[in-house]
Amino acid sequence: MPREEGSKLSRRAWITTTSGVIAAGLVKTQSDAIRLVAQEAPSASSDPTRVPGRLVSGIGSRAPAEQPRRLLRAEALSSSSRTPLADLMGTITPADLHFERHHGGVPDITYGEHELLVHGMVDRPTVFRMSDLTRFPQVSRIQFLECSGNGGGVYNQDRMPTEVTVQALDGLLSTSEWTGVPVSTILREVGVRPGASWILAEGGDAAVMSRSVPLDKVMEDSLLAYGQNGERLRPEQGYPLRLFNPGYEGNTSVKWLRRIEVTDQPTHTRDETSKYTDPLGDGTVRQFSLMMDAKSVITFPSYPYVLPEQGWWEMRGLAWTGRGRIVRVEVSTNGGRSWVDAQLQGPILPKSTVRFRHLFEWNGSDTLLMSRATDETGYVQPTVQQLWEARGPRTSYHQNHQRAWKIARTGEVTFGLGELV
């Protein structure tokens, strides 16, 4: 049989190609020999059952053919990169694919030298080092982080795109298991004074990024996070320390955190006045719009996928809400004329993404796929028309409306919301 012949051939080849180096004393161990075999084997076309595989290694890597990448907005100090949502499964974002948004580049900070100053309306102003912070009782939670600018490209009626990926549209969303110490534990340690109602969180980056956050929020469930998906934070996510405000717009989860000041008023920093505020079309501007309301996106099928044939397909996507748990995701295959409940993959965690799936039979006709999420408060992800009515046609941030993907008769999938507006 071929296998027998092949084995003999392999062995002969091995002896032939390696005898010289063995004689030269270069092969001292079994691993040297295997490495030689691996080098000699014509790997691309060979049968992996007939050549030894690679050895154990200090750190793993993706299969060469699997190289998902973040999508860069621009190579600039203040820029962003987006998570390749269509390439991912389940809910956890690999840490090296977590979206980025920073305003002055990624700083290089030495773990052992980083300090967090907590002061203001507290009894005991204190400087904590990382060795102090990691010694406090620790918690871990799986929760999403989303930039409130996510999805801004699919709001303007006059500029509704078609050939756009879910990564480009909604890739400022990632989910991680975050580990750290609750802010409440640290504020208990320093003693918050009566009358306090806000904190100012400030980063140690070149932008000294600063945001005000209500004290009741950070006391409820915010973390000083130093871990992400089982390892220390990546530099792009705030190494060695970030604030993490579950369910709040991502910008408030200040990275490279070096200072918390307890105050009795917001500071009105640039990123809560000139930026991250939402004009409502009536001459007013919504400020401190911190909560990320319920939203869902279909990640498969989505542009530029082409369905190769009719038949059974599984629609897949993510749903999340800053207000707690997702309780329902409905999907439509006819542009919202009728809806059916999608299956939700448990466990459904609060302020985390939920994977939803729905099996559908594509009959080869024009099809418009949609999803809409409902959270535990009863809030239903709105249509874009509902947001236009509430905030006018040109608001910015928090555009969490329902999306749509169109399957053409050719099987080509494009962004389809333009069909409905």
């Binding site: 609750p182 504020l187 409820e220 500071t267 079309g281």
Partner: protein
Amino acid sequence: MSPRRWCRSARRGGVTLGLAIVVGGCGGASEGGDVAIMAEGAAAGSGEALASHAPARFGFGASADEARVALWDIDVRPDGAGLPAGSGSVAQGRQVYTLYCVSCHGATGTEGPNDQLVNTEQWDAYPAGRAVGNYWPYATTLYDYIRKAMPQLTPGILTPDQVYGVIAYILWMNEIVPEDAVMDAQSLPAVVMPARDKFVVDDRVGGSGPIR
């Protein structure tokens, strides 16, 4: 510390605001009940409450004296808190702007390539850009931001006089202050910005009511 003692401590510390669930647990339920309620409040039942035998204080970290706090306490608020001594005029600010700002913001603060700084056109529905003159609600934010983040390639390089001066110049370009204006810790917070009263508190509440 028991949950009950933590509740008392939190009240002493004045942090009961918004802790509806936790505070509710302080009302006299059994000790065990407090634990369950606190866990729910802290992180939805995931067992995150501090251990009942945790100490009142851990004592980790080092005390920060006034000098240490002052080293990093650089934010500035709308009421002027945090503004340092010093001053700068429109004329002085023009020099600062020409030296440090023009390359990114343009000769008149409108050319870019980075953010537009100048726009005197007021608006009813949506702003045409988010410049100082038509969108920024507080002049103090200019100090907070410029001191921390500008110039982009050499942040933190400007002296207080230079920051005050360049703010005076930017406000003058936006027709908010006269050409003889001088900015300092008293005059800057007194500047009333054109867009100040446009900003409203977020009224979204979730639930099944109207979309906001």
